[in-house]
């Protein structure tokens, strides 16, 4: 018997589970595979797929109950968690900033990790791509960026990681290689050589794909900044983005360290409901089994998730994208919405926070 069972292991599921555990609840996560966090950018956008402000978010999703105090508290809680885990985020959801994407477009985001730098309006920019990583091409990125920002001076450079591979390499492969100091030295030497040849001495930003290390991101970032002598940013694009993998890894590690029980590769097939309460859920992983909890959190996302979305169940909290079909205009949620929605469920389950109009469910 757990206090809470969270179904789904994406951003929403993990945040909800970790915060509940920190409030002293016994928590289990039941999940079929990883969440869509693996395919995400790791950036906390306000309106994914669109440029918008927090006011637009509230209007769009009709969540007026999320007042300024609640938003501030949720975001602070997220920032504190990520700082403790060693992957701090910065930014202000009241003032979204422009960042560059892996296709050379500019988009707005709310919170972003330290490997990301807001994109300047003018100045000298260099874009670095790797011969081995086909998902990110500096010439292509430059072309798109130049159209949008004609006033920028843009250099594009293509360097090699110097490692042979028996498979098509992705950004994560590059991120892991760049955690090795010999690979970094090899890459930095090529970049410096290019800059020397072009007589570039002052750059406002050097753009990389999302490859600046995984758990060792700080070492990789510091060395690149120091050696190149300019601010560095990752441009998030085709998954897997190292920005997202770090977030996933840090959250997952925290979840397990805190003693949250993981029921992996497990599907929820049905639930026993009595008097509008879920008594237990029936699960299967080769063998059939059942699990009991006082409260249940459904964090399965919407596009490929879903499940027990019955609003009339009193001990079921439906969070994240599963909450309401209105939140998936482009089939994407995540980001700020996930943080706020998770925090709200945690507040309600732990009885620590109440703000009138409630989300679905509500038994303490």
């Amino acid at each position: 018997m757990f206090d809470v069972i969270v179904i789904g292991q994406g951003l929403t599921g993990m945040l909800t589970a970790i915060w509940l555990k920190k409030k002293g609840k016994s928590v289990a996560i039941v999940h079929q595979g990883t969440g869509k966090i693996i395919q995400s950018t790791g950036l906390m956008d306000i309106l994914p797929g669109m440029d918008g402000t927090i006011e637009d978010l509230i209007k769009e999703y009709q969540i007026e109950r999320w007042n300024d105090v609640f938003i501030k508290e949720s975001i602070e809680s997220f920032n504190m968690l990520m700082r403790d885990l060693g992957y701090p985020y910065r930014g202000d959801v009241g003032k979204p900033v422009e960042v560059i994407t892996g296709s050379g477009h500019i988009k707005l985001t709310g919170l972003f990790p330290e490997t990301i730098v807001p994109f300047p309006k003018k100045g000298n920019i260099a874009i670095v791509s790797f011969k081995e990583i086909t998902d990110f091409q500096s010439e292509y990125v430059k072309g798109n960026l130049q159209k949008r920002r004609p006033e920028l001076v843009i250099y594009s450079v293509n360097v090699s990681l110097g490692k042979n591979s028996n498979r098509t390499m992705n950004q994560l492969d590059a991120a892991r290689l760049l955690e090795k100091s010999d690979v970094r030295k090899y890459v930095i030497a090529q970049i410096k050589k290019y800059f020397d040849k072009k007589v570039i001495d002052k750059l406002d930003l050097v753009v990389f794909p999302s490859v600046l290390g995984v758990m060792e991101w700080k070492t990789v970032l510091n060395e690149f900044e120091m050696e190149i002598g300019s601010p560095i940013t990752e441009a998030v694009g085709m998954p897997p983005n190292a920005t997202a993998i770090r977030l996933n890894e840090f959250l997952k590690k925290e979840m397990i360290r805190q003693g949250i029980r993981l029921y992996s590769d497990t599907t929820v097939i049905s639930a026993k409901v009595e008097k509008r309460r879920i008594e237990k859920i029936n699960i299967v992983n080769n063998k059939f089994n059942n699990l009991k909890a006082k409260n249940y959190v459904l964090a399965t996302g919407e596009v490929l998730g879903g499940g027990l979305e019955d609003a009339s169940l009193s001990n079921l909290f439906v969070v994240g994208a599963t909450n309401d079909s209105k939140v998936t205009r482009y089939g994407i949620t995540g980001g700020i919405y996930s943080i706020l929605s998770s925090y709200e469920a945690v507040s309600m389950i732990s009885g620590a926070y109440s703000h009138g109009n409630t989300i679905k469910g509500g038994d303490n």
Binding site: T34, I38, S165, L172, R261, L262, S264, D265, N286, K287
Partner: protein, 400 residues
């Protein structure tokens, strides 16, 4: 000719979740990766000639791809099939045939135990073995016991109300019979008698080395032998996480053995079984305090069973006992994988997260179910490693 059973691969969306979660892909660019060698290779050869891709040799069948897949594709099953095809078309090295048969090694080596244990620590001998056999000279070997579990325990039937048929597995039989002893003791404290059915190696090392037919033979024998016990009301319990996974999953999904599905319903990991007794309110909780501070290392094949963390659930019942999950990835030993000369460095690279987690938490000792994970923890750290059932037996014994 190989007869392979259908395993759904068309649900694969190429989302890369498996690639990101694969410990071998994360540390080696030589490996083709689970997505390419699993569902994509299967798509390619469906209704065509078999294709031999030697890169499958690097798959350690840890199962992290299965755990990560949001679409329920059994990636490991597909790669195990690709390994079988590779062996069929290209043959198998003598070393790999030998490594895939821990039961045979166990029988011979435990008979000569005092000598073999000393020999496996002698550098010149290890250098020679590396040269002739391709087993890395710096790889630690588990010790072998002359007084193995087969010599110690011969009981074939149980007469208690609740009865357990114990699937011992090669490791507890030949290398660590103290695990078997501890299991029998813990069951006795719960008034459960333990029978040891006739059994052979579960077959996981065979699947890892492309020895499909041999694995099938063993699986058939085990299913028949264990089902007899099931029909007489026994529960099947195992102390090794890989054996448990084989009995619960691989016999059904990869090998398609008749009766395997029925058997799987009655198979439990030892801690999972005790947790069930606790839930039913019949677990003997006369446990005396242990003021230890331990780390728990979850084997990949434990995670793959989707049963939460039964070892910690049970050990947390011991008064004063502190245990924390190391939350580390794959250890890198991966059964036979880490013994092979060409994988040695890669194996240690993969094990780094386990090593770092031990350094970070500094437990007094580490608890894990898997004998091979223990081997790697011993190789890479100075930790004493215990099976959860040994810790529990200690607590029961003190309370007598």
């Amino acid at each position: 000719m190989l007869k392979l059973i259908e395993s759904p691969f068309d649900r694969c969306l190429k989302c890369n979740a498996c690639v990101v979660s694969c410990p071998v892909s994360n540390y080696s660019l030589d490996f083709g990766g689970p997505k390419h060698l699993g569902p994509e290779l299967k798509r390619l050869i469906e209704n065509q000639d078999l294709l031999d891709d030697p890169r499958v040799e690097l798959c350690a069948i840890c199962g992290n791809c299965d755990i990560s897949c949001p679409e329920q594709v059994h990636v490991t099953d597909l790669i195990v099939q690709a390994k079988a095809i590779h062996s069929e078309l290209s043959g198998t090295k003598f070393r790999d045939k030998l490594l895939s048969n821990p039961e045979l090694i166990g029988k011979i080596t435990s008979n000569l135990a005092p000598i073999t244990n000393i020999a496996m620590k002698a550098k010149p001998i290890r250098k020679a073995i590396e040269k002739v056999m391709g087993i890395h000279s710096e790889r630690q070997f588990p010790k072998y016991e002359f007084n193995n579990f087969n010599r110690r325990y011969k009981k074939k039937t149980a007469n208690s109300e609740r009865k357990v048929a114990y699937f011992v597995g090669c490791y507890a039989t030949y290398n660590a019979p103290e695990i078997g002893d501890a299991f029998v003791e813990v069951m006795a404290y719960n008034n459960i008698e333990v029978a040891k059915p006739d059994q052979h190696c579960c077959g996981i090392p065979m699947l890892a080395n492309g020895q499909f037919e041999q694995a099938k033979k063993n699986a058939k024998f085990n299913v028949q032998s264990l089902l007899k016990y099931v029909s007489e009301g026994y529960d099947i319990v195992a102390t090794c996480s890989s054996c448990t996974l084989a009995l619960k999953k691989e016999y059904v999904s990869v090998l398609g053995i008749d009766g395997a599905e029925e058997l799987a319903k009655h198979v439990y990991d030892s801690s999972e079984y005790l947790r069930m007794l606790d839930e039913e309110g019949v677990l003997n909780k006369n446990l005396s305090p242990l003021n230890d501070n331990a780390g728990y290392y979850a084997p990949c094949h434990m995670k793959a069973q989707g049963i939460g963390n039964p070892a910690m659930d049970i050990l947390e019942l011991i008064p004063g006992y502190e245990i924390k999950d190391l939350a580390a990835g794959c250890c890198g030993q991966c059964g036979t994988f880490g013994f092979k000369e060409e994988n040695f460095t890669l194996s240690l690279d993969i094990g780094k997260s386990m090593h770092d987690a031990v350094e970070e938490l500094q437990p007094e000792y580490t608890v894990t179910e898997c004998g091979m994970c223990k081997n790697q923890i011993n190789q890479m750290t100075d930790q004493v490693v215990k099976h959860p059932i040994e810790v529990l037996a200690e607590s029961y014994k003190k309370s007598k």
